[in-house]
């Protein structure tokens, strides 16, 4: 690689936090005009490296050199790096929901003359940028009125408005459905043709393998290797995963022999309306069953109504005007409140553990017991000694990596937080466990542990419902998979018959157009 072909070179980057070496002598070389993937487990140091690059960790707080377009850079703030044409788009989008698309694009960079905003110019420029990213929305549409996928495109348009040369995307497709993901990746390819270099960080290895020209693997704060994806040697996903975890994963899913018993939960003709737009059916006449010792999967694209179905069953925590029947062990039950649902032996572990699952400013033990304090209490008084013992048991059984159950949950890694969420619901001792995206945002090693826990639950006679956006995951762990599309159950396939293709076919089945 000749030097003028290199847009970015990071050399010998080391960064130490109190007690932790986050980065050790990391090297990253990105060629001009390529898409460069960065892979690594959670906590490997990918985000830290990008924070160093963007100036979020200012010059002086790390060791090593950054060369951008062959010039040494000493970024003190994000503004410094953006000035040079380096723009980072974080996993959590930084858009203001009440402002329009155009206002967001030019936020901090207002199209103004002498302090007065030129709205015509703002909207006209925004429209041009939207055309470039392929977003068919009016520039004056409010951000809160468009979906996450489109918001992601607005972020990219905003980056383009800053004359971006190097675009960094941190987990850009984590919250997107397959269609939006595909569109985003197409956009990255077309930006590449326009001369924009991109760095993509992602957990979705198939995606990153498909789009990248080169991939750098980081493990434990060190560069492991940079793989040339356009070379003669074919780089497989297995190879990348092996380098990420440092060991071969002989099988990504643990084996389980199913012992399926009697039906535990049956949902009949379940319909849920949108809480604000009450004429819209989010779940439309869905029916499903799950039995003792069985793991079923719910597959569907974003907006298919999987989470909404689960939450409406779990104490009507989503939706309005809910109709349908729930049978537990053959008896019809009502689940009007979360408390009622728990009493009937139903548990729901949320997809958004930070928002709905955990009290991040409280400790591990109190989070674990929070759904079942009644079990620990006599006359309303909590037995704290017993509570510690319970928490200790789950720490051991679930392999939660923490020095103490008194540690704050907010300080744990994503995988360990997920184990706390699971512990909380397993301690509630339900008959039916609904796990919504149980492995989202956690690393490969921890995923395997979660799968093992799911298998153990099924072996213990629980009925498990897994909602996941990753089809291989559903195929790997479920006995039976339901596909949802636009709120309807469009089919179910036993594990033996299900393939990614057959599921995707059901997941994209459109509703017949009825007269409106």
């Amino acid at each position: 690689m000749s030097t003028d072909n290199v847009i970015l070179e990071m050399r010998g980057i080391s960064k130490t936090f109190p007690g932790v070496k986050a980065l050790q002598d990391v090297t990253l070389t990105v060629a001009r005009g390529e898409v460069h993937g960065i892979c690594g487990e959670n906590g490997a140091g990918k985000s830290t490296l990008m924070k160093v690059l963007s100036g979020l960790h200012p010059h002086g707080t790390y060791e090593g050199d950054i060369l951008f377009e062959a010039e040494p850079c000493e970024f003190k703030t994000i503004r410094d790096s953006e000035h040079r044409g380096i723009v980072i788009i974080h996993q959590e989008l930084a858009l203001s929901p009440y402002l329009s698309i155009a206002e967001n694009i030019f936020l901090g960079n207002e199209q103004a003359t002498r302090g007065v905003i030129d709205w015509t110019k703002t909207n006209a420029e925004a429209a041009k940028l939207l055309a470039r990213v392929g977003l068919a929305e009016r520039p004056d549409t409010k951000i809160m009125d468009i979906g996450v996928g489109k918001q992601q495109l607005v972020e990219i348009a905003k980056a383009l408005s800053k004359r971006v040369k190097l675009l960094i995307l941190d987990e850009p497709t984590a919250a997107l459905n397959d269609e939006d993901s595909a569109h985003l990746l197409d956009l990255v390819r077309s930006l590449k043709e326009q001369g924009v270099t991109s760095i993509i960080i992602s957990h979705k290895i198939n995606e990153i393998a498909a789009i990248s020209d080169a991939i750098t693997v980081i493990r434990d704060g060190k560069t492991i290797e940079t793989l040339d994806m356009r070379g003669s040697e074919k780089i497989t996903e297995e190879r990348i995963i092996r380098r990420m975890v440092g060991r071969a994963l002989d099988s990504r899913f643990p084996e389980r022999e199913s012992h399926i018993g009697a039906e535990v939960l049956r949902i009949e003709d379940w319909t849920v309306h949108h809480p604000i737009d009450q004429s819209r059916k989010v779940v439309d006449g869905a029916s499903l069953t799950v039995s003792k010792g069985e793991v079923i999967g719910l597959a569907g694209l974003m907006g298919a109504g999987r989470t909404e179905l689960a939450m409406s069953i779990f104490g009507r925590t989503y939706g309005t005007n809910i109709s349908g029947r729930i049978f537990k062990d053959g008896q019809e039950i009502q689940t009007h409140s979360v408390h009622e649902a728990i009493m009937h032996g139903i548990a729901y572990a949320t997809e958004d553990r930070k928002k709905y699952g955990l009290n991040l400013i409280d400790d591990i033990k109190r989070n674990i017991t929070s759904s079942s304090l009644g079990k620990l209490a006599r006359f309303g008084v909590v037995d704290q000694e017993e509570e510690v013992l319970v928490a200790e048991r789950y720490r051991r059984d679930m392999n939660i990596k923490t020095p103490s159950v008194d540690a704050l949950v907010g300080k744990l890694s994503g995988g360990n937080q997920q184990k706390v969420v699971l512990s909380k619901w397993i301690y509630a001792d339900p008959d039916v466990l609904i796990l919504d995206e149980p492995t989202r945002g956690i690393d490969v090693g921890a995923k395997y542990e979660i799968y093992t826990i799911i298998n153990a639950l099924a072996d213990a006679g629980k009925a498990v419902v897994v909602i996941s956006s990753e089809l291989p995951e559903l195929l790997g762990i479920c006995d039976r998979i339901y596909a949802l599309s636009q709120g309807r159950v469009t089919g179910q396939l036993p594990r033996a018959e299900a393939t990614q293709e057959s599921l995707m076919h059901l997941m994209t089945q459109e509703k017949e157009v009825t007269s409106r």
Partner: protein, 389 residues
């Protein structure tokens, strides 16, 4: 040694606030030429600030749950007025009047709790309305002042427990006994908690840190007991406050109700998804605040010896300030009764010391404002440092 330093580092907030209290006490002791800690002043420090401590207990629960209560000052005037009327106009025995005061306080709590918990109006607005409503009602009911209350009632805030146990070396035995029981109880519970942790092989704080903390508290309690036993004896209101502190420390730390308050303040959504009945908990918090405001009203009316329409002016801010100085998080989810009590003491010592020094009340306000700001700033800086990355 490093273990202790590390432990102190992690708990700097807890020790910092106690240290601040001690520094402020010593400072005023010097500035007032030793008058701050004279026996009569110690007794009236307790008697004059009992209302802050009582209200701060309820306020901690309100703030931890993520709410605020701006109405407590007006509620104190309203309930105090009714209690005074019950004795003066209706000629009811004072004990019955006290009971009526507690019930009316609870009803006020029911009223505000209903709007917050069941209708879903933010507590800031409900209690802002309550602030106006109950102040107005107090003025309507009381006019300006209802004086001439029975001595039994006035003794609640101005009287002392009799010396049933006689004197030893010119010191009231009853006060000494209560003090000794308090210190003994404190030491015993701490060691038992430690033993339980030990038994289950769990991390315990370093022995030196615990002993240091206990010695500090024992000295504080011991000093208070010693001073009071040598002069006035045990103020009745101190017994009331002491019982409330113990009871609410237990409620917040050990009961399901208390734990649900922390869960809601820490992450409301997660609490709902864990099956916490948030309406009932919110309702309970405000009913409880109403009852405590009733207690504060009784104490305040008794202290003044009269029902006053303007009573309790600014009490809500004193209570909120005490809670925040004591480390209660503005965003909810974090806070302790013990912290708020130390916060209330800091405010009380400031009041007392500045009054003894004849500092203009306007300046007193300004100084208290600065102390509140400093305490919360200290907290934030600290958290940022602890947060590290």
């Amino acid at each position: 040694m490093t273990a202790i330093r590390e432990y102190l580092g992690r708990n700097v907030r807890q020790y910092g606030i106690i240290g601040a209290l001690i520094v402020i006490v010593l400072l005023f002791q010097v500035l007032t030429n030793g008058r701050l800690l004279m026996p009569d002043n110690v007794a009236s420090l307790v008697q004059q600030n009992a209302y802050v401590m009582i209200l701060a207990i309820g306020m901690v629960m309100v703030i931890v749950a993520g709410h605020i209560d701006l109405s407590v000052g007006s509620v104190v005037a309203f309930v105090g007025g009714i209690v005074a009327i019950a004795m003066d106009k209706w000629n009811l025995p004072w004990l019955l009047a006290v009971l009526i005061g507690l019930v009316v306080g609870a009803l006020v709590g029911v009223w505000q709790g209903y709007w917050v918990a069941f209708v879903g109006i933010p507590a800031f607005i409900v209690t802002l309305a309550g602030m106006l409503i109950f102040r107005g009602l107090a003025i309507v009911l009381v006019g300006t002042t209802i004086a001439g209350l029975p001595p039994g009632f006035n003794a609640i805030s101005n009287g002392y427990l009799g010396n049933f146990l006689g004197y030893v070396a010119n010191r009231d035995m009853l006060t000494l006994t209560i003090g000794a029981l308090a210190i003994g109880g404190l030491v015993l519970t701490q060691f038992r908690a430690r033993a339980t942790l030990r038994k289950n092989d769990l991390e315990v704080e370093p022995m030196a840190a615990m002993v240091g903390k206990l010695v500090l508290f024992a000295l504080l309690l011991g000093f208070l007991t010693w001073v009071l036993s040598g002069s006035t004896g045990m103020p009745i209101v101190l017994v009331i406050v002491g019982v409330l502190i113990l009871a609410y420390t237990f409620v917040l730390g050990r009961t399901v109700f208390g734990r649900h308050i922390y869960a809601m303040g820490g992450n409301l959504n997660a609490a709902i998804m864990s099956g916490v009945n948030t309406r009932r908990v919110n309702f309970g918090i405000f009913v409880n605040m109403g009852v405590l405001a009733g207690v504060a009203a009784i104490v305040t009316t008794s202290r003044a010896g009269a029902g006053v329409a303007a009573a309790g002016d600014g009490f809500e801010l004193d209570a909120i300030a005490a809670a925040f100085i004591g480390g209660t998080a503005v965003t909810g989810g974090v806070g302790k009764v013990s912290g708020a009590m130390i916060g209330a003491l800091i405010m009380g010592v400031l009041n007392m010391g500045l009054s003894i020094m004849n500092v203009d009340p306007s300046w007193q306000k300004a100084i208290k404002g600065l102390v509140l700001l400093a305490a919360v700033a200290f907290d934030l800086v600290n958290k940022r440092r602890a947060g590290g990355r």
